[in-house]
Subunit: 258 residues, 2 copies
DNA sequence: CGACCGCTTGAGAACCTTCAAGCGGTGTGG
DNA sequence: CCACACCGCTTGAAGGTTCTCAAGCGGTCG
């Protein structure tokens, strides 16, 4: 017993769960910290990956889901034309790879944008564990559900008509994300290229660039390479939220049909 | 024992699991059919709802997820401007309400487009059941994961640049869906309005109308109100898949960064 | 039968894209 | 160590697709 507990705690220490900022949110860990027995089953040693590295590629076998502890990941697919289409950006606290559960193979590529620390979690073990520990099960479900909600929020962003609105919504999303991590909500570092943003928002690179300049000229932002300072959060939010239909016009409100 | 089994089987019969076309896919049922004990815990009597009815509304308490057995549902949110933004369409075999798991409240409204038979499934019971029955757990996970994949596919559609491509992809999606249900892949009934489609695809109503006319003039479709016959599936697929960048041009293929 | 609603069609305007060129930084080879 | 090339980003001009506004058509419901 004693020796087992010791071995296990070494594993937990290796993985650095004790210092992990997302302990409370981790699907494998409980609120009170990571129970060693859990870590032992589910955890693989955390990886440090660098800009340009791939976490996984399309049709790679699905074994792990990946918790981002630091850095940034982008997921993307290659279209028939050979062009790259960015699906999402993943920052600390996010889990990558949830779209592989059903098919058993990854549906996209995951590339590291910025030196990242990634915790692989064995999905089959996670499932087994969640049979015994209701808390783990609900965390897992919650994660999956959150992903769905996030996607729906993104659909709303893409539903925004103008490029300015999409960009504003995108920046605000990052701002809130940073804030939630305890970082500045106004000083954003964008780890992805303009081309990545363009693909993600379904815009041309040139448009992204122009919109950023326009927002800067308007005194809303201070853009310097990938460093964006939000100068007028209020106005940015107004842009993001206002739809073109805000004018007096027969509003297309949802009504019961007949 | 005997009497319990009998009561239970009555419940299962009430819910009509025996004749349900989606028995094999139902999160509550196993491959061999719906185990009565399961149905008893999880199932609520199936509802029949009509055009214009709401299954749930934003911020309604989350208790059930809903399996669509027949008919069609749309989910949408109301934007600040009062305008309606359609999030998704749900046809037989789909599950609605998965986005409420994490927050405990529904994130959108669900309106019936066409007389529908809906199976409410008690989510808390489903979780409890999935603790005991691994098969149920994996079905549930798979469903959540599939939803994520579906959303990503939709993001790709919206990433498609032209209105024609989006429309083609939308129609093909419906076509495949119908085919999977054992119905005709070429004779599609669209239960939603043009405005719904427009909102969903981030286009103007007029554009949706024009694109449909254009596709009809091109001999790809035969459009009659909400009834669409696909005359040239091959060409429709070509339109949907080809990206604008298909021409010889320095391809923006994903490459390792440096 | 009339009004309303959903859909279609037309014309003009607006926004975004495309094509083209130039700038600045980084990395590499001479 | 410097120069050059490459890459990402920006900026400009022209063109195109889609949006907006407006009007008309057809079906449905009261």
């Amino acid at each position: 017993m004693q020796s087992t507990a010791q071995i296990v705690s070494i594993r937990a220490r290796e993985s650095g769960c004790a210092e992990c900022a997302f302990r409370g949110e981790c699907v494998a860990c409980g609120e009170g910290g990571c129970a060693p027995a859990r870590a032992d089953e589910v955890m693989v040693a955390p990886k440090v990956l660098h800009r340009g590295d791939h976490l996984f590629r399309t049709s790679d076998d699905f074994q792990n889901i990946y918790m981002v502890r630091s850095g940034a990941i982008k997921t993307y697919v290659i279209l028939q034309s050979g062009e790259e289409q960015v699906i999402g950006f993943h920052t600390p606290g996010d889990i990558v790879g949830l779209d592989a559960i059903e098919s058993g193979g990854h549906m996209c590529n995951a590339m590291v944008l910025d030196t990242s620390c990634i915790c692989p979690l064995r999905f089959d073990q996670l499932c087994r564990l969640s049979q015994r520990v209701p808390d783990v099960q609900s965390r897992l479900m919650n994660r999956l559900s959150r992903k769905i909600v996030d996607h729906e929020a993104l659909l709303l962003i893409l539903g925004q008509k103008t490029a300015e609105q999409r960009m504003a919504a995108f920046l605000l999303h990052f701002s809130r994300r940073q804030h939630d991590l305890g970082l500045s909500a106004l000083d954003i570092n964008l780890p992805m290229s303009r081309a990545d943003i363009a693909s993600y928002l379904a815009l041309a690179v040139e448009t992204v660039s122009r919109v950023l300049t326009r927002l800067q000229d308007g005194g809303l932002l201070d853009v310097q390479r990938n460093r964006v300072r939000i100068l007028d959060l209020q106005r940015l939010a107004t842009i993001a939220e206002e739809t073109l239909e805000a004018r007096p016009r027969p509003s297309r409100v949802a009504r019961p049909l007949h």
